[in-house]
């Protein structure tokens, strides 16, 4: 994707878009920030700036007006790139907190409370949750294990790095086009001295068997209420092949990515990427450009570049969250417990 090619409409509507949010939107649209956690953290950072710089207009109330402002900013971000589930949950959480601000609270106090809410959300749901998941997962990683991972996931990377300090193991990285995020995983893991093998998705069954893979560690974009895992496209394939071979599949997901949506297949709600990504095959590929123009004129060809897919719960052995290790079917239970707690 070429950053220079992005055009996003910015118009005010009910409120102006904060410059930090403007920057953020462009970074989302140009795929500079990738990954559920990174996008959520970046969003929380931008919202902190927004709240800090906010002043209530003379004739308005803070809760109502700030929420309208927030909505306008979020609508802009949605136009840049559809919101991730983690981002949606974060915005919902912050809006709920803003709505609950008692009346007649002076602005500076209300703002500092909201800022604290954002900070706590970031600390508890993302940072501490990641540490807790890392601790749980460390119990499942044994000496001389061969662990298979797919693409790049920040939480899986953290687990591997933390565990490598205690136990020696090796990693097989499976990668999928067009994003080829596995290369990021490969670079970072080798920097920490982890022995890695790298293969593309079509080599998966062979590598799984010949490489004596002991377990598969996957990240997730979101966990749906019917126990299905929404992840980068290709995740479902990896889980399916691993299941067929009797290799346990562990999905690592913080609870802030749990979603009340129910989806049975990958098509009904998904995100389309740039179809030309499928065509351009590499750096300086001479035929790529010509192929692209030929295909563009082809009326019988549709290029479909899906971003996510859905893994059914029967392929997943366990889900590791900061609450502990759960089976996939327990997601609605966690959602129910958390809604009772009101968090």
């Amino acid at each position: 994707v070429h950053p220079g090619d992005c055009t996003v409409q910015v118009h005010s509507g009910r409120g102006t878009v904060h410059p930090e949010v403007l920057r953020l939107g462009l970074r989302y649209a140009s795929a500079t920030i990738l990954g559920s956690n990174s996008r959520c953290v970046a969003l929380l950072g931008a919202l902190t700036h927004l709240v800090r710089d906010y002043t209530t207009p003379a004739d308005k109330e803070l809760p109502r007006d700030l929420e309208d402002n927030l909505n306008a900013n979020v609508a802009y971000l949605e136009r840049c790139r559809p919101l991730a589930v983690s981002m949606r949950n974060a915005v919902k959480h912050i809006k709920r907190y803003i709505n609950a601000t008692p009346e007649k609270t002076p602005d500076h106090k209300a703002k500092s409370d909201i800022l604290k809410c954002i900070e706590d959300y970031l600390k508890e749901r993302v940072v501490l949750a990641g540490q807790a998941i890392s601790l749980f997962a460390a119990n499942k990683i044994g000496k001389d294990d061969v662990i298979l991972v797919y693409g790049f996931s920040s939480i899986v990377f953290k687990i591997l790095i933390d565990s490598f300090k205690q136990t020696r193991f090796s990693v097989v990285i499976i990668d999928g086009r067009p994003r080829l995020e596995g290369r990021t995983m490969l670079t970072r893991l080798t920097q920490h001295g982890v022995p890695c093998t790298y293969a593309l998705l079509n080599a998966l069954p062979y590598v799984l068997e010949r490489g004596c893979v002991r377990k598969v560690l996957l990240g997730a974009h979101a966990l749906l209420a019917n126990g299905r895992v929404m992840g980068r496209v290709g995740t479902a394939l990896v889980a399916m092949v691993a299941h067929a071979r009797g290799v346990p599949v562990l999905v690592c997901c913080e609870t802030h990515k749990f979603c009340e949506r129910v989806q049975t297949d990958s098509i009904v709600v998904n995100e389309l990427g740039d179809p030309l990504e499928l065509v351009v095959t590499g750096h300086g590929d001479p035929t790529g450009g010509r192929l692209a123009t030929t295909l563009n004129e082809g009326k019988n060809l549709t290029l479909l570049n899906l971003s996510y897919d859905i893994t059914p719960p029967e392929f997943v052995t366990m889900v590791i969250t900061e609450l502990g290790m759960l089976p996939c079917t327990s997601v609605p239970v966690v959602l129910r417990v958390k809604s009772i707690e009101g968090t």
């Binding site: 346990p248 366990m318 609450l323 759960l326 089976p327």
Partner: protein, 322 residues
């Protein structure tokens, strides 16, 4: 660090409860063979609490954890000892901070002991409740397959027989300790028609049975169970022949373990602790005494909390622990 631990555990070893050590008292509790192993362990814990000289809740909990460690070193059903005792501690200390604010610790201790006895009472009655719930699943003329010696299954079959149902039971011999023979004798003593079969004959007999009923040493977080070695094979066979596979377990056997596969079962549960000590931790050539049956092979679990599907077990555990 290890020397301090040895010192503490040996001093607890010598703790006198009415003139006996912990292990002696535990052995006495176990003399009633129909009692569940975990119930005997909980009785021991209550005795320890009564004789305890702890001044704080933390001190008491530490003493009890030490007792659990001692009991786990016996050769027996270690899984249910650990799960039962951990649940016991959680039950009695639940919301005890409210109590502690208002009363001195001695009075609190009495209240905790009262709670402990209540828990014990519920657990002792668990099996009867399970027998009542499971009665509907054993129909007249049914053929049941069971594995090894399970006091819970015995109770269920006894209940069905008292109801006046006619049914036939196939019992596996269940090596290496042949505990299935004891099960067979007990069934015959209750006038239930039974046949003893070899472990190897399970595949042969599966087409003639209507349902498989086994006990459990521990119920995992995902609804899978740990049970006498051979259970997994029977479950696979039952699935392949489309026969329902039922597990009977009391709720104190629910444990916060989540094995990924057979290899992932903790060593201290697979082998007797005396065996681990003899081989100094190298268990590669030892035969495991339990195996893990994953939840997708289990149809239903009969527990004193009700008849549960394997996925509901996690729900119950979350309610208990979160």
């Amino acid at each position: 660090m290890s020397t301090t631990e040895e010192f503490t555990s040996s001093s607890i070893d010598q703790t006198r409860i009415g003139g006996q050590t912990v292990l002696e008292y535990y052995a006495e509790c176990q003399r009633d063979e129909t009692k569940a192993v975990a119930v005997a362990a909980i009785e021991t814990m209550i005795q320890v609490m009564e004789k305890s000289e702890a001044e704080t809740l933390q001190g008491l909990v530490k003493e009890m954890n030490d007792v659990i460690d001692i009991l786990k070193r016996t050769d027996g059903n270690v899984t249910s000892i650990e799960s039962g005792c951990k649940l016991f501690i959680r039950f009695i200390t639940l919301e005890s901070s409210v109590l502690l604010e208002n009363l001195p610790f001695n009075q609190c201790l009495n209240m905790l002991i009262a709670r402990g006895n209540k828990f014990l009472g519920e657990m002792s009655r668990a099996r009867l409740k399970i027998a009542q719930l499971s009665a509907q699943f054993i129909e007249n003329g049914a053929v049941v397959l069971t594995h090894s010696l399970s006091k819970c299954v015995l109770e269920v079959l006894k209940g069905a027989a008292l109801d006046g149902k006619r049914f036939h039971v196939y019992v596996t011999q269940s090596g290496p300790d042949n505990s299935g023979i004891k099960m067979f004798n007990k069934l015959r003593a209750m006038n239930i028609s039974a046949t003893q079969i070899l472990d190897a004959a399970v595949g042969y007999i599966m087409e003639s049975v209507d349902l498989v009923l086994v006990g459990a040493e521990g119920v995992m977080e995902n609804g899978g169970v740990l049970n006498k070695i051979g259970t997994y094979g029977i479950a696979v066979c039952a699935r392949s022949s489309n026969k329902p596979f039922y597990v009977v377990a009391e709720s104190f056997k629910f444990v916060r373990l989540y094995p990924l596969n057979q290899r992932d079962i903790p060593c201290n549960l697979k082998y007797n602790s005396s065996v681990i000590k003899e081989n100094c931790g190298d268990t590669r050539f030892e035969h495991p005494k339990i195996d893990y049956t994953p939840p997708d092979l289990i149809t239903l679990l009969f527990t004193n909390l009700g008849v549960l599907t394997p996925s509901a077990v996690s729900d119950e555990l979350i309610k208990l622990y979160l």
